[in-house]
């Protein structure tokens, strides 16, 4: 069936418009960050940063404890993602591959758990952490971020585990592997792309969280980057160059991670399609 000329043009035209719409805010953030203030506060916007400056980035990085906060954010985010992946993998395997009593109830439990509105339970969590004498520490943060992402990680991984052909596992077991060995040698490698894709959700959740750290960690050197960004914004509300530089720095790791892992996940999908 041949498409008419219009029929061929409109999808592409729409795609271009959509592309611009989705990319522009991200572009504008980076562009503003690199423009000298004179080019930001103008009556007519300067669309492309012609004379690039790093002055805003310097200002952003100059904040007290900036590198400590980076380290804290990375520590908390990576640990909670890794811990939740490990816990979730066990659970997902059981839910996807085994028959047992209460399975249905558990799935619904995790679905309910992922609905928890954490922001509104903040005082309760604060009192628990306070009474356990764990304030101003990265441990409660890690632990609660792990829990925030755990339910969805389980539910998603369950899908990935189920997608691995059962026959592979069985043939491995026929070859004399125990179930655990079969899991480690056969299923796990096939799951790797799925794990990476799933981890993105955890990364972005933990990286972004801020109401909890705001109330739990008052000591500056125990805080994380979202607090820095929001305080930066309050202090430099009108200094859009510095604010956008801070936003860019904050967003960059996630953007990179995303593009990198997303690719892996897609190739994982095609692999899976071929093998499945």
């Amino acid at each position: 069936m041949k498409r008419s000329l219009i029929g061929r043009i409109w999808p592409n035209a729409t795609a271009v418009v959509l592309f611009v719409g989705f990319v522009f805010p991200v572009y504008w953030m980076f562009a503003t960050a690199f423009k000298p203030t004179g080019d930001i506060i103008t009556d007519d916007p300067v669309w492309f940063p012609t004379d690039v400056t790093f002055e805003h980035f310097k200002k952003a990085v100059n904040a007290d404890n900036f590198w400590t906060l980076v380290l804290n954010s990375v520590t908390v985010t990576v640990s909670s993602v890794v811990i939740s992946l490990v816990i979730a993998l066990f659970a997902a395997f059981a839910l996807a591959r085994m028959r047992f009593k209460g399975r249905r109830g558990l799935i619904v439990t995790f679905m309910l758990a992922q609905m928890a509105p954490w922001e509104v339970m903040i005082i309760a969590i604060y009192m628990i952490v306070r009474d356990s004498d764990m304030l101003d520490s990265l441990i409660p943060l890690t632990v609660f971020y792990t829990m925030m992402v755990l339910p969805l990680t389980i539910l998603t991984l369950r899908g990935y585990v189920a997608a691995v052909p059962k026959e592979l596992e069985e043939s491995a077991m026929v070859d004399g592997c125990t179930r655990a060995q079969a899991f480690r040698k056969v299923i796990f490698p096939l799951l790797a792309p799925g794990l990476m894709a799933t981890s993105l959700f955890g990364f972005i959740t933990a990286w972004n969280e801020f109401p909890l750290v705001l109330i739990l960690n008052k000591a500056n050197e125990k805080q994380t980057l979202p607090l820095w960004l929001s305080q930066f914004q309050t202090a430099f509300g009108d200094d859009w160059g510095a604010t956008m530089a801070a936003s860019s720095l904050f967003a960059l790791p996630i953007l990179i991670l995303f593009i990198f892992l997303q690719r892996k996940a897609v190739s994982g999908l095609t692999d899976g399609a071929v093998k499945g």
Partner: protein
């Protein structure tokens, strides 16, 4: 809220999996049955860490929150570690307040509007992706992924800048397009336009998830189904409604469920944009709970509102949860 990733692997999604295998011979599997009989405790053991985490880290705060909702808890009690039970007083205070019901109503409309927009736009863009040539598709995918990956705190800040009253690029464009009254427009001045900006932000960052996953799902539709449909004489529209849509339905259900939860829970987007203002008019339930509880330091009342928020979320999603319960029964 943000991003999420069950990824491009749609084959992994429970819903899709079910659709792909119309009559799955699942459970008719001797080997797994035998092995599970041998180690009946194994699944529980595997689930133990997840369960423990859920009980301790979610269950405990929930119970604590529930207990606080029956207490008179203000700065004095918090500071002196006093426990003053006051029965249902907090609930009575919240439920008899007209404000609360306005907030509930607002939250429902806000969620509905956003989810409809997200699912509508996401589905259309997903179908568009399937129609595009390879290069164009990749370009659009990159754009979507960038928006998807923007951390919400940064994204909210960027939108404030885009819509800034002074020197904001949106006002400039509207002015140049001939809408001169918008030159110095303050977007956060009224309820409607604040919601408009928040909605645009939420839709912008949520659509990519729906679109990309939906596109990936369409690629797993077996070609033979279309061939069979066209043999039956089905046109483009007919084959869409008879093949594509039924195939995607479970996926659409589960995605809608997730979006409802995420939109309903959205906190940072609204709070960081304008703190629920102007005049509390953009407070949805989570914001209301936060402002009353933490902002006004009326912690007991805040706990009661958060309990009611959870209840509201349960009611809204109960239809889907029931469906899941039924569906899981059929599986394995």
């Amino acid at each position: 809220m943000s991003v999420q990733t069950e990824g491009t692997d749609t084959a992994g999604k429970p819903a899709v999996r079910k659709a792909r295998v119309p009559a799955p011979p699942r459970g008719a599997d001797g080997a797994s049955r035998a092995s599970s009989r041998r180690g009946a405790g194994v699944p529980y053991l595997l689930l133990l860490p997840a369960l423990l985490a859920t009980v301790i880290l979610l269950g405990w705060p929930l119970v604590k929150n529930g207990m606080l909702s029956f207490q008179n808890l203000n700065p004095r009690q918090l500071i002196q570690h006093l426990t003053e039970w006051n029965g249902f007083a907090n609930y009575r205070e919240v439920l008899t307040e007209a404000e609360f019901w306005h907030v509930v109503e607002r939250s429902v409309f806000f969620t509905a509007a956003n989810v409809v927009l997200i699912m509508g736009a996401g589905t259309l863009i997903g179908l568009l992706l399937a129609r595009l040539g390879k290069k164009m598709r990749l370009t659009l995918l990159v754009g979507l992924v960038l928006a998807w990956a923007m951390p919400v705190v940064a994204a909210t800040t960027v939108y404030q800048w885009l819509f800034a009253q002074r020197f904001g690029v949106v006002n400039w464009v509207l002015d140049k397009l001939g809408w001169h009254s918008m030159a110095d427009h303050n977007w956060l001045e009224t309820q409607f336009s604040t919601f408009a900006v928040v909605t645009l932000l939420i839709v912008w960052m949520s659509v990519p998830f729906v679109a990309i996953n939906l596109y990936a799902a369409t690629t797993t539709i077996p070609r033979e189904l279309y061939e069979a449909a066209s043999l039956d004489g089905a046109g483009a529209w007919k084959s869409f409604t008879s093949v594509t849509l039924p195939f995607l339905r479970p996926f659409l259900y589960s995605t809608t469920f997730l979006e409802v939860i995420w939109v309903f829970k959205s906190f940072t987007q609204i709070f960081a944009m304008n703190e629920g203002g102007p005049d509390h008019l953009t407070e949805t339930l989570p914001i209301y709970a936060y402002v009353q509880g933490v902002g006004n330091q009326h912690f007991g009342v805040g706990a009661a509102i958060s309990f009611l928020t959870i209840l509201a979320l349960l009611i809204i999603t109960s239809y889907y949860l029931r469906m899941v319960l039924k569906q899981e029964e059929d599986e394995l």
